[in-house]
């Protein structure tokens, strides 16, 4: 077995298992903590409140756009760019089609890859600059915040370097960095990619039933 076969074989399957099972456990464990039923008489539907919170908190609202425009723009640049790369980059589509499931969509053209990569890098770098320079985010940040950013950055960077598939080593480096990210993911704050939904639904239901979804 070559090094590449090992990285794309056993290591990949191990990283995937840790990623999937880790996230599943992280979410299940939160549900398993449980909570008592709210005995107050609701004014409005908690289900509507939950749905509203999921949608409302995807964009600045309540007159706060001006105050949060930096995070809004850079956050969306990064996340849209990253997901576009993840799901539509030609090597990813080929990899998923070959080993996981046949995707019902085509790969994006090269020019779209460039735009998505630029958006993702710009967003991530600008968010990180903010984390390092703003007194509030500097105060709030811990090791996990920095490790998560750097692992993501390295995975994206090695992905761009491996795009042309000119050197097997670059592809190996990208696979390794992605696997490191997948293994780290469930134990870190990166799980906000899933838990954001829980938090929004919980607040939307709890406060929406009072009559206003914040």
């Amino acid at each position: 077995m070559t090094a590449m076969e090992f990285i794309e074989g056993p290591v990949w399957y191990a990283a995937s298992a840790i990623f999937v099972l880790g996230i599943a456990w992280r979410i299940a464990a939160i549900f398993m903590i449980g909570r008592a039923r709210d005995l107050s008489v609701s004014r409005r539907s908690p289900i509507v409140g939950a749905a509203k919170a999921v949608l409302l908190h995807s964009v600045p609202h309540g007159g706060n756009l001006g105050r949060t425009v930096y995070h809004f723009v850079t956050g969306y640049l990064f996340h849209i760019g990253l997901f576009a790369l993840l799901l539509f980059a030609a090597p990813h589509v080929a990899f998923i089609n070959a080993g996981i499931v046949a995707l019902p969509w085509p790969a994006m053209p090269h020019w779209a890859f460039i735009i998505a990569a630029e958006a993702a890098f710009a967003g991530l770098i600008l968010l990180y600059v903010r984390r390092l320079t703003d007194p509030v985010t500097r105060q709030l940040s811990d090791v996990d915040d920095h490790v998560g950013v750097w692992l993501t950055f390295v995975a994206m960077l090695t992905g761009c370097l491996a795009l042309q598939e000119a050197h097997a080593g670059l592809r190996m480096l990208h696979m390794l960095s992605v696997e490191a990210l997948m293994i780290y993911f469930p134990f870190s704050r990166l799980t906000h990619a899933f838990t954001f939904l829980l938090a929004r639904v919980n607040t939307g239901a709890a406060l929406g039933r009072r009559g206003f979804t914040p």
């Binding site: 992280r26 107050s40 908190h57 706060n64 995070h71 984390r131 509030v136 906000h192 009559g211």
Partner: protein, 440 residues
Amino acid sequence: MTSAASAIADAPARSINVQAAVDKFNALTNAHIASYLDACVHCGQCAQACHFHEVTRDPRRVPAMKLAPITKVYRRHKAPFAGLRRTLGLAPELSRKDLEEWEELIFDSCTMCGRCTVVCPMAIDIASVVALSRQAFVAAGLGPPDLLQAADNARDRGSPLGVTREVLKDRVEWLADEHETEIRLDKPKADVLLLISSIELMKYPRSVVAMAKLLNHAGVDWTLSSRGYESTNFGFLAGKPDVARTLIARITEAAEALGARTVIVPECGHAFGVLRWSGANILGRPLPYEVRHITEFLAQHKRDGRLRFKPIDTSMTYHDPCQISRRGGATADARYLLDGVASDFREMTPTGNYNWCCGGGGGVQALGRAAEVRHEVFRIKMRQVSETGAAMMVSACSNCRLTMDESKAALGWDGELESLVELLAVHLDDTASSAPRPAR
């Protein structure tokens, strides 16, 4: 160092039971709270919505910072992979130093107004986490002495300001005579139990008279009860759940004895929030009555045609108490009451559910050491009112009113502050007849 931090640092050495705080944090962390602690990405956007950060620019006075003590306990004890983190030494235990350093943030720097939730991309309800955190700090033996004393006064003497049953009877008798208004106390049976806040009775007694006048005019079958009269719940604000339960039980027993179907909370935001939305949960059973804020109740009677008001020419704006509007769901009622009454009504920006807090909610009003920062917060309100050009600011919370009155005096602001019920009572259209309900 802020005056609050200095006061804490200068306080005599206290015995701190860290384990008690850890146990309490663990006991109070339910699935909702866990989802919040797992979702925060430390983006710091909540700072943009917090009045304490707005006026101090202190990077510690940020809502997300207040999640730190409970998060530390959660990650070590209850979070997924907590055992792994402990084994690897990645989840240190909460320390005495943590509790000492966070006390000011949890008690003095949060009014639990919930404005940060609006701006949070994860929608984390930090106010509810702060309320729980206070219980853990108090279990450890911490908490501001004046806030804790207010809770003990409420438990032992009937009210945080010492309004005992005797004082209540004396004040009600005096007010009824002075204002020639019938103020019903201890009727044996009534449809409606009216509560008062001791802030009103002692500092703004006209507010009690105004409520009596409006309810009498609307033909409501109501009474005050010396068995349960205090609406404020300093047990909740001070992190003393046993006191919170006692105070809710008193109101409930009084309402049950009267056969009251409705309990009206007067102009007090947190009193409404605690009884309406947490009362049943604290008591452990559904409340056997409906809870209405006075603005909700009066708005209903205006809709029914039982209350009519004469127009007021003075230009005015309305300050939304956070626990009645943003966290209470009754934002529209005050405006409905003012509709057609305030001839020149002007909204602040932002307003309604997004309004800035007065700076004194969540028990912060009771903290002498927080006065300085409260006054700074009031500058936001001064600016907001000034931008409307309104001559008068009206509100429906005596705690907001007291906070703003004190800051107004401290800063020499010449704007006019008014209570909504007092304003309505003065402008009641006496020519319109009410249709009284049959007496029970």
